[in-house]
């Protein structure tokens, strides 16, 4: 039981990193539906850089660079041009899916990318993602002027602007934090959990992460607890499938989303979404 729990935790690590990243973006008022594409892109750039340099560390840096690249595209459209965030996010998912799929297949013709992908042995990302990051990011969000400003931009951008805060500046920073975390998530997915890239390898993790942000009520504690729950539910699925007891594990998989939906409706009391979430800045 302990073993499978550990596997569940390790397997859910990219998810948790992405959840924390999206949480920061959403606290600043941005809904980044392009999270899926961001993670997919950084999974690919991580593998490419790791293969070119032969170093895992460089691969992780490459993953972050990939996340930054997607964040830059999202930011130019959603912040700079105040384009619709939902349309932009959807376009970015299509863009990442198309571009990574294309580049991946093209790479197969190139001998350089036939080299083995360096694999991460000592996985420090897991404890960092589950303990260090939530504590540090929680402190940043709730106990600093920066965190206050960021939350203000997500709740009431007009008031924030009146108080002399640069709303777009804070949103860029929130997006930047997301890019770093999601870059790590993509790199962890392709360099630690698997060894290499595969087409559409994120397989909906970005959208699951979006759900967990809601499940965790836009809080880091909730992010950790929610990811653990979703991760364990996914691990249970494989266990049940292996035992083949005829338990309807697909219904079990749907259950966390039903609960999340109830949380979104505030039926379990408490916190709601940041007020200005997803609204266009004029």
């Amino acid at each position: 039981v302990i073993d499978s729990l550990e596997i569940a935790i390790v397997a859910a690590t990219p998810l948790l990193l992405a959840v924390q990243g999206e949480l920061f973006a959403q606290r600043s008022g941005l809904v980044n539906l392009g999270l899926e594409g961001m993670m997919l892109t950084s999974a690919m750039t991580a593998v490419v850089v790791a293969q070119l340099t032969g170093s895992v560390a460089a691969g992780f840096a490459g993953g972050i660079a990939g996340g930054m690249l997607v964040a830059a595209i999202f930011g130019i459209f959603a912040i700079r041009m105040s384009a619709d965030q939902i349309v932009t996010g959807t376009a970015i998912n299509l863009l990442a899916l198309g571009a990574t799929g294309f580049i991946y297949r093209e790479m197969q013709h190139n001998a350089m990318f036939a080299r083995p992908v360096p694999h991460l042995d000592q996985d420090l990302i897991v404890p960092a993602a589950w303990i260090l990051f939530p504590l540090a990011l929680g402190g940043l969000l709730w106990n600093t002027r920066f965190g206050l400003g960021l939350r203000a931009c997500g709740e009431n951008p007009e008031a924030a602007r009146a108080a002399g805060i640069s709303v777009s500046g804070y949103r860029w920073l929130g997006l930047g934090i997301e890019a770093i975390l999601v870059g790590l998530a993509g790199a962890h997915l392709s360099l630690a959990l698997s060894s290499g890239f595969a087409e559409n390898m994120t397989a909906g993790r970005g959208f699951i992460a979006l759900s967990i942000v809601i499940f965790g009520r836009w809080k880091l504690k909730g992010a950790v607890a929610g990811t653990a729950l979703f991760g364990i539910a996914a691990a249970l699925q494989y266990a049940l499938q292996a035992m083949n007891r005829g338990v309807p594990f697909h219904l079990l998989l749907a259950f966390p989303y039903v609960v999340t939906l109830l949380i979104l409706c505030g039926l379990t009391g408490g916190v709601r979404a940041p007020e200005a979430l997803g609204k266009r800045e004029r």
Binding site: V31, L33, I73, F77, M81, A83, D84, I86, V87, T88, T90, A91, I92, N93, L94, L95, L97, G98, A99, T100, G101, F102, I103, Y104, R105, E106, E199, G204, F207, I208, L210, S211, I214, P248, H250, L251, L253, A254, Y257, V258, T260, L261, L264, C265, G266, L267, R272, A273, L277, G278
Partner: protein
């Protein structure tokens, strides 16, 4: 007409970008264009393939258009597509018409959940529809592994079900006519009826619409339900016309592609027909590229994304009228 020009220019620009991208990987854009064109419309077989792909894209595109007209982005078309197909499969015993209606009803119901939650509990529909997509995907997974699995129990898929009649001697099914009819009906509803006018007023400016005496909530609800019905119909037609079976990866991203289709169609029902045909041809042509020229078919997805981004830049779809 000006907006059609905009859309065509944006498409040309995106195709240019796409060619540049392919060139960066050592392909000749001219050869690519020739293979793509022939693969999409170069033979009767290719045209049939393109039309088959056009049907689901047109219906999910219409779903996005109708919802958007009342000011709602329906990104839950994927889930509505799935429940539509599920309901249609279950009701197939009652004949094809009953089954298609059941699919529409199920899609409408699934979309309504999101809008009810928004009015009742202020839950943003962008987030709730994503959750509903997941619930639909797992529901389908349960069905094809459990109650609806084929009797042999070999694969996680359902038994084969009814088939839509084909048009003449082609491989194109009657769903094409239904989809075109749906586009005409949507145009008539939105532009030629009082209800359509109220829906559009709601989307343009909800508070002004309220002052003008429009029951805003009722019209948002109505257009979202209609939108879900279109997506559900798309799923049902795809089931009876193309796949004939349900399986886990049934939706294949049609719900999300519908957003690109709707945007290129300038969020107008009739223009959406052109845009869906274009994307259908693009997808089919890209499939041919992969088979005969060994160029990844992901090029089609990339093309959809580039078109949306270029359209945002040109800002043409912001003027909603």
């Amino acid at each position: 007409v000006r907006r059609a020009l905009y859309a065509s220019l944006a498409t040309l620009a995106s195709l240019g970008l796409l060619g540049a991208f392919a060139m960066a990987f050592g392909h000749s854009p001219r050869e690519l264009a020739i293979v793509l064109f022939n693969g999409a419309v170069g033979s009767p077989f290719a045209i049939e393939g393109s039309l088959l792909k056009t049907v689901p894209l047109l219906l999910t595109g219409l779903a996005v258009v109708i919802a958007f007209r009342s000011g709602v982005w329906n990104i839950g078309a994927e889930g509505q597509f799935i429940v539509g197909a599920l309901a249609a499969f279950i009701c197939a015993r009652g004949g094809i018409v009953t089954a298609l209606l059941a699919g529409m009803l199920a899609g409408a119901a699934w979309a309504s959940i999101a809008i009810v939650l928004r009015f009742w509990r202020n839950a943003p529909e962008v987030l709730s529809t994503i959750l509903l997509n997941f619930i639909a995907i797992h529901l389908l997974g349960w069905c094809v592994n459990g109650p609806l699995q084929e009797a042999s129990g070999k694969y996680p898929q359902s038994e084969a079900t009814l088939e839509l009649p084909l048009l003449g001697r082609t491989s194109v099914h009657a769903g094409l006519l239904i989809a075109i009819g749906a586009a005409m009906a949507s145009w008539y509803l939105l532009y030629r009826t009082a209800t359509g006018l109220r829906i559009r007023a709601t989307g343009l400016n909800p508070s002004a619409a309220t002052w003008a005496g429009v029951a805003v909530r009722r019209h948002v609800f109505l257009s979202m339900a209609l939108s879900g019905a279109m997506a559900g119909l798309a799923g049902a037609i795809e089931l009876f016309g193309v796949t004939h079976r349900l399986f886990e990866r049934f939706a294949a991203g049609y719900g999300y592609s519908g957003i690109a289709v709707a945007l290129l169609g300038q969020l107008h029902p009739l223009a959406t027909m052109v845009s869906a045909a274009f994307f259908g041809a693009l997808v089919t042509g890209a499939g041919e590229l992969q088979r005969s020229a060994d160029v990844p078919s992901s090029l089609a997805t990339l093309g959809q994304a580039l078109i949306v981004l270029v359209l945002i830049i040109s800002g043409s779809f912001r003027s909603r009228d």
